[in-house]
Subunit: 400 residues, 2 copies
């Protein structure tokens, strides 16, 4: 018999994927260059030349059994050493290879982090708006994801609601900064307050509360933005990193779990990740990709285009009368829709070939997401369509 | 709190890994070339030149976003089409891309297969001797692995014991042919009888019983051996394949699940695998490796060395008076030890720098495994040590 819980999931199609499929279909009618597809968070800038050069050099010069052989379960030792050294140098936290577990992208890293610290029926808290895949990621482990409603003025943390929801059953708190979908970066003040509350509640409840920090956008931070390192505030932090966005290689499934050296249980956690891998069929990220990434750890793709795009879009949105928190990083922006139901708003936008994602998917109804990882030239053309859309459909709004 | 079940696993160290670590340590004392390390099943022959050439060509000529971008969740469409076409052409089963789910090696493929067809507390049956990782692979899903004792005369299936253990709670039967550790290939007669029993029991119990076929050694079959395609015998077959051994790239984590087109529920299963992936953080195998492998689907590394090694070892073992089923494939051989306790036997062998693995790990006590994926020259030197070992320690055995 097929397992019903997975069969049942087949009917629930992701809105983002449906929109992306619409964009592809519409592109076949009118040319994809004329569809202003803001649906998917798929990096658009090229992989840095250094990465490709390192890959070719490895393939051309190294023995194939070295390049493509089994990686030790926690990752190739020299790669883990290089990651730890780079983190220590950048953030001043004394990571050693013993704290680094190489994983298949952020999804793989999170799968291990959740299983490290939650049993079935435990609760993980996260904050709206959030990446909708957190739901299956957590709930299919047997634990339960609960969502703290957003502070829509800032998209920082709604601490009042958070404190109420931080019950004894909460074993981990999951954050994502810079944030998908809001583009907001948690400030020093936010992270300090979060850490203070967690420390207080740990003592009160008599058990650890782990902070799982999902950081695929760590390197995409805009000029002048305060973007503190999450792990500096709270020892019980498990960072989940991916090179997908920083190096523009989401298909290669490479990232890591970094355990804070002072984390409670740090001495066991990487070896526990190895055990978890055995149960989920995970094993290691690809060997040659580990070897190549280790040689470009402090490089990134040319990420400046995302800030250029953000400024163009943000300024036009404000001009048009939208309410919008200015993103501090990522390639997302999360404005308030011009009518209450963002699904209706996004539906109307499709008539202008603007593909926007309603905030309902991110548990923040009334807002919508634009993923501006597209060419700047196309962004500029899209703004003409955006103006036409809002001037036609919302003539009475308050904007220029 | 750290999750106890994974923490508890830290104390149980794999015997194979301990032996491999011994071999490495001993190698540092006397030179690794003097340690006859038969512990690990790590492919020794080079990756075929074509694979490396294709990789370099892709990197040198294709856009990076194409090469390294997100793969669709079931795998890159053109790659799935190529795999299906290759399987249809080779085995005459009408696979289409809808039946192929690209996975991270055989471990990733099995993780999906188990979750497709078993709920917690369901039973999966397998046959001794077997790959010991099946224990955590199955048991950590919540299902239970039960093991049918071996037919030590042939290492084919012990059907008498099998029929007794095939109760109503068994939702899947897991086989591995060519087999690790015995090297035996299941014959046409064995597979036909297995299929007949499964069909009969499906009807009797009124539910599907799936055959999960773990096939990483499919391409390593020796001259003149009857090595039938498992899926031809039984429609409810889920094949789990890996390119690790055929192309000598175990570190790149690339394989697939192939659902028999007539399998009950075939129309849902690949999409269900996609849902399973979301829960285990799996996602796809690396994009560039998918693209490269698709171009060398019908190539293999030069696997002949394994047969050369097998013949050398087998003939010497027989000469020395061992009882041993002749392997039909893989790079393993599984002789009977010269005393009852194979752990004691293997312990004694270490004094001669022969690293052999006791069959207890494979639930076949009294036997031992040699993984002969090493240089032929070293195999030859090892036979001198083997002769010295048995002549010294077992002078009264019946051998030449």
């Amino acid at each position: 018999m097929l397992v019903q819980k997975y069969k049942d999931m087949l009917s629930g199609k992701s809105v983002i994927r449906q929109l992306s499929e619409f964009a592809t279909a519409r592109g076949q009618e009118i040319g994809y260059e004329n569809v202003f597809d803001y649906s998917l968070g798929n990096p658009s800038v090229p992989v840095p030349r250094e990465f490709t050069d390192k890959m070719i050099h490895l393939l051309a010069t190294k023995e194939t059994n070295y390049l493509h052989g089994y990686s030790p379960s926690p990752g190739i030792t020299s790669v883990r050493e290089a990651v730890a050294a780079s983190l220590e140098q950048r953030f001043g936290i004394p990571y050693k290879k013993e704290h680094i577990f190489m994983a298949s992208g952020a999804a793989g890293a999170l799968a291990h982090a959740f299983r490290l610290v939650t049993e079935p029926k435990d609760v993980i808290l996260t904050f709206a708006p959030f990446f909708p895949e957190y739901n299956p990621y957590v709930n299919l482990t047997g634990a339960t994801l609960k969502v703290v409603p957003p502070d829509t003025d800032t998209f920082q943390i709604n601490f009042e609601k958070f404190e109420k929801m931080l019950t004894k059953k909460v074993m981990a708190v999951l954050i994502n900064t810079p944030n998908n979908p809001s583009g907001v970066v948690y400030s020093t003040e936010t992270l300090q307050k979060l850490a203070d509350i967690l420390k207080k509640k740990q003592e009160e409840y008599g058990h650890d509360i782990y902070l799982i920090s999902d950081e695929p956008y760590r390197e995409i931070v805009f000029e002048g933005v305060d973007a503190p390192c999450v792990s500096k505030f709270y020892d019980n932090t498990i960072s989940c990193y991916s090179f997908s966005k920083s190096l523009s290689l989401p298909g290669e499934r490479i990232g890591y779990v970094a355990i804070h050296p002072n984390c409670s249980g740090a001495e066991y956690m990487v070896n526990m990740c190895v055990q978890i891998s055995r149960g989920i069929g995970h094993n290691c990220p690809p060997s040659i990709i580990q070897l190549a990434v280790a040689q470009v750890l402090d490089k990134t793709a040319d990420l400046r285009v995302y800030e250029t795009n953000m400024n163009l879009i943000y300024n036009e949105l404000i001009d048009l009368g939208f309410t919008c928190v200015k993103p501090g990083g990522t390639f997302y922006i999360f404005p308030k829709a011009l009518e209450e139901d963002a699904k209706v708003f996004c539906e109307k936008a499709l008539k202008y070939d603007l593909v926007l994602v309603p905030g309902d998917s991110f548990q923040a109804p009334g807002y919508f997401r634009m993923a501006y990882c597209i060419d700047t030239e196309k962004v500029k053309r899209s703004l003409v369509a955006l103006r036409k859309f809002v001037e036609t459909e919302y003539p009475d709004r308050n904007g220029k």
